[in-house]
């Protein structure tokens, strides 16, 4: 099957991408060197992002796990005899480029798309990439039929899409109009959800556990643990570029982010001298390990503790900002605009802690 058949028109794709960005509290932060990201001016709100020059770069991580970097959230790829599993899909206009890179690694059918949360910079390509794949269903017949049809250039049978799996709250939020933005396109919605604390899978000879991280970056965050490969794909509860982006419209919270970061630290085991071992693919930014997550957790904890102390002393938000509770981390994580800005982070932490007082 040609990808073009399922790719929406360029103009429509760009429009959807704008909607995805505006609808997501987590604005796309390209996985570039941190300072470049932080200092980059925000794209004008009404201007469609230009994806023409975006390159999808592939970083082999371990065994059959790869990290794909382009524009939007990092993608994790797991490949093997059972097929291809993708964690997050960036923006719809990038799907052709993403699929091209996937096919250089594996010709096997895309079976699963897992979403770490519902923001458009992580789910925009769901529809395109799921249509480029096929789930195994109907007594294990539908998948092979679909693959055969695709291989012959014929129309895929109904249902011949890869499974899109996420926490139930992701589906709920993607169907809502939030902040004046339209719901996500139907073909990007998860078609399988889970509501439990965690969900287990076994794919390509590997145990995979999906953990729900409640009320963190959003209320539908999942971190994906590839147990044999010892790789975590954690979405936007952790990034290496900015302060945490907490989407209040989707019920994110500072305490949820801290809990998720500490959970990641529970799962990671360094190989030696507190580095290596379990690798962590962040939502945005560079590949990490336990030591990196620990530094980030420390930063978030310290800022949380400071603002909590100030709230306890009755300081107003303006007084808290004037006290510069993030001063020591601003050169590394601070930014002046956007959902991940320093001011926005302080405001959210302040309001969370004041509400909990």
């Amino acid at each position: 099957m040609s990808m073009n058949r399922n790719t929406v028109s360029k103009a429509k794709a760009a429009a959807l991408a704008v909607a995805a960005i505006l609808g997501a509290a987590s604005i796309a932060v390209a996985a570039q060197p941190a300072r470049q990201n932080r200092n980059a001016p925000a794209a004008p709100a009404q201007q469609a992002p230009n994806f023409d020059n975006v390159q999808i770069k592939v970083l082999p991580i371990r065994d059959n796990i790869y990290m794909l970097v382009g524009q939007g959230g990092n993608i994790t790829l797991q490949v093997g005899e059972d097929g291809v599993l993708i964690v997050d899909t960036q923006f719809a206009p990038l799907s052709d480029k993403i699929l091209t890179e996937i096919r250089k690694i594996s010709k096997a059918p895309i079976r699963f798309i897992l979403n770490t949360h519902g923001h458009g910079d992580h789910t925009g390509g769901n529809g395109n990439l799921s249509k480029a794949g096929a789930s195994v269903a109907g007594g294990n017949m539908l998948g092979p039929i679909a693959v055969a049809a695709q291989g012959q250039g014929g129309a895929a049978p109904a249902g011949a899409v890869a499974t899109i799996l996420a926490h139930e709250n992701v589906l709920t939020r993607m169907q809502q109009s939030i902040g004046g933005q339209p719901p996500s396109p139907d073909d990007t919605l998860p078609n399988v959800t889970y509501i439990s604390e965690f969900k287990d899978m076994f794919f390509n000879g590997e145990s995979i556990r999906l953990f729900h991280e409640p009320k963190a970056h959003t209320d539908g965050d999942t971190i994906v643990y590839f147990r044999r490969s010892d790789v975590l794909s954690v979405g936007d509860v952790y990034n290496t570029n900015n302060y945490p982006v907490i989407d209040k419209a989707r019920d994110g919270s500072i305490l949820g982010v801290l809990k998720a970061l500490n959970h990641i630290l529970e799962l990671t085991i360094p190989k030696d001298r507190q580095e290596g071992g379990t690798l962590v693919i962040p939502g945005h930014g560079r590949l990490s390990d336990e030591a990196d997550v620990a530094e980030y957790r420390d930063m978030v904890t310290i800022i949380h503790d400071r603002i909590k102390d100030m709230v306890g002393r009755g300081l107003t938000l303006e007084q808290v900002k004037a006290a510069k509770p993030t001063i020591d981390y601003d050169p590394r994580y601070g930014s002046g605009n956007g959902p991940g800005s320093t001011d926005r982070f302080i405001e959210i932490v302040y309001n969370d802690l004041k509400a909990a007082k």
Partner: protein, 261 residues
């Protein structure tokens, strides 16, 4: 190319800056380090108890700080076909840290690759001096009292051999936490009779009952010994708080201003 053989076991000479290198710096002893306000604030928030956390107990010094400590073994990795030096390996005794200085001009990893405490180093000979450029460093410290060095910092080192002695000069560029490049030199003496011992390390629970997620730190303005060091040695508080100006000779008068009071 004037390649000098650095192979052998080198014992670090600690006479230079001894108080900082063996007992370690005092709390809020920042003079001589070109810190910005952000780094000063990090130092003032730093509680040494953070080293009790399991994520910290076995960390090695980063490569830019390791030049100050610990004997090391240096050996070359030779390409069997070309007989050229492919890489130079350095093994430190303390925390068994190893690093490789690649001499084959290989491409650096992309910006989104994982960082390490020793970073990714490329070397080349500039006359008799081995010049090393390092990127991909993990966040760490420039002084063992909480002054930070970020993970976007880069370093340049010079390895200069004079007979059985060697000087390593390390220059740190950190756009996040330093207003100027920070330069340190360390001396080593060849000591091939010395062995580099193993250095096992296994994190343990050091403080029973510590709450999950607890991160020791001092609140702003609550450092328990902020000017203890400055007052003990009759230094001005400005001197203790560091900054680029405190590294220059003309600052001496201000540093000693407290004595005149």
């Amino acid at each position: 190319m004037a390649e000098v053989d650095l192979s052998g076991v080198w014992n670090v000479r600690l006479h230079e800056d001894l108080p900082e290198r063996i007992p370690g710096p005092d709390m809020v002893e920042y003079h001589g380090v070109p810190v910005n306000d952000a780094n000063r604030a990090r130092g003032l928030a730093w509680d040494p108890s953070i080293l009790t956390l399991e994520e910290y107990q076995c960390r090695p010094h980063p490569s830019d700080y390791f030049t100050r400590f610990s004997p090391e073994r240096i050996w070359k990795e030779i390409d069997s076909e070309t007989q050229e030096t492919k890489g130079i390996h350095i093994r430190k005794e303390w925390q068994a840290a190893e690093r490789t200085i690649w001499m084959d001009g290989r491409e650096r990893p992309p910006a989104y690759a994982v960082h390490s405490f020793q970073g990714f180093s490329l070397g080349k000979w500039e006359g008799d001096v081995l010049a090393v450029e390092t990127t991909h460093l993990k966040q760490s410290y420039v002084r063992r009292n909480g002054l930070a060095r970020s993970d976007i910092a880069t370093t340049r080192e010079h390895y200069i051999r004079h007979g059985d002695y060697m000087t390593i000069v390390a220059v740190i560029h950190d756009p996040a936490y330093l207003t100027e490049s920070f330069i340190r030199s360390s001396d080593y003496a060849l000591d091939n009779k010395r062995n580099i011992a193993p250095y096992p390390c296994d994190p343990v629970v050091e403080i029973v009952g510590q709450a999950k997620g607890y991160v020791p730190h001092y609140m702003p303005g609550k450092h328990p010994s902020e000017f203890e060091y400055a007052d003990r040695y009759n230094l001005s508080h400005e001197a203790a708080l560091g900054g680029a100006q405190t590294a220059y000779p003309e600052f001496m008068e201000k540093a000693l201003a407290a004595k005149k009071r």
